[in-house]
């Protein structure tokens, strides 16, 4: 049973560019949440997708957007990258939107130069 997978593992971009990160949820899960973990900090909730719609959103600007596909996989897009967007981006999956039981992927390390 595959757990949550994320790609790519690492990514280097320059300021102003755009990036897309991908996540496949744990088998049987239908909800995907994205978190940003800056160096030395805990994860911060970006948004959550369920039934291909954004259901909840944290305090992040519109430069951060996402998508969920019919197979429940998800993408996180960040436009106009800033140096401060450098972080580990974690994807977590769960069954249903309002559950505390979620499984995290290994993350994508984004470096913005």
């Amino acid at each position: 049973d595959a757990g949550v997978t994320q790609s790519p593992t690492h990514l280097i971009k320059t300021r102003g560019q755009q990036v897309t990160l991908r996540c496949s949820p744990k088998s049987g899960h239908d909800t995907v949440s994205w978190y940003q973990q800056a160096l030395g900090q805990g994860p911060q909730f970006i948004f959550q997708y369920y039934e291909e719609e954004e259901r909840q959103r944290g305090n992040f600007p519109d430069r951060f957007s996402g998508h969920q596909f019919p197979n429940y996989s998800s993408e996180l897009n960040v436009n106009a990258l800033l140096l401060g967007d450098s972080a580990l981006y974690l994807c977590a999956s769960s069954l249903g939107v309002d559950t505390d039981t979620q499984y995290f992927g290994p993350g994508t390390r984004l470096t913005v130069l």
Partner: protein, 115 residues
């Protein structure tokens, strides 16, 4: 508003000794409290949670946590530390009235177990 604090950036313990990783929280209503562990190049792994009931919660890998309402604390404990317990530990909280996605994580405590 809800918040969580982990006052120690690092905790060092000798193998075989008991360990404690501290966490305090603030919520307007009743707290739901969690501990997660993060190993290098790995995502967060769930250890345990407190929702209601017994103040002593037992979790994975021999860890337990004690909920103390008067001190607004939820310290993580283990009677006998293993070198393999060395990792980054996160405490998290959310208000019972808010959605699960509104979970707030602390800044983490690095636990180092020396042989």
């Amino acid at each position: 508003a809800q918040s969580v604090a982990q006052p120690e950036d690092q905790v060092n313990v000798a193998e075989g000794n008991p360990l404690t990783v501290k966490c305090t929280y603030s919520v307007s209503g009743n707290p739901y409290l969690f501990w997660y562990v993060q190993y290098p190049n790995r995502g967060l792994q769930f250890l345990l949670k407190y929702i209601t009931g017994d103040n002593l919660v037992k979790g994975s890998y021999g860890f337990e946590a004690e909920f103390n309402k008067s001190q607004t604390s939820f310290h993580l404990k283990k009677p006998s530390a293993l070198v393999s317990d060395s990792a980054l530990y996160f405490c998290a909280v959310r208000d019972s009235e808010s959605s699960a996605s509104k979970i707030i994580f602390g800044s983490g405590t690095r636990l180092s177990i020396r042989p």
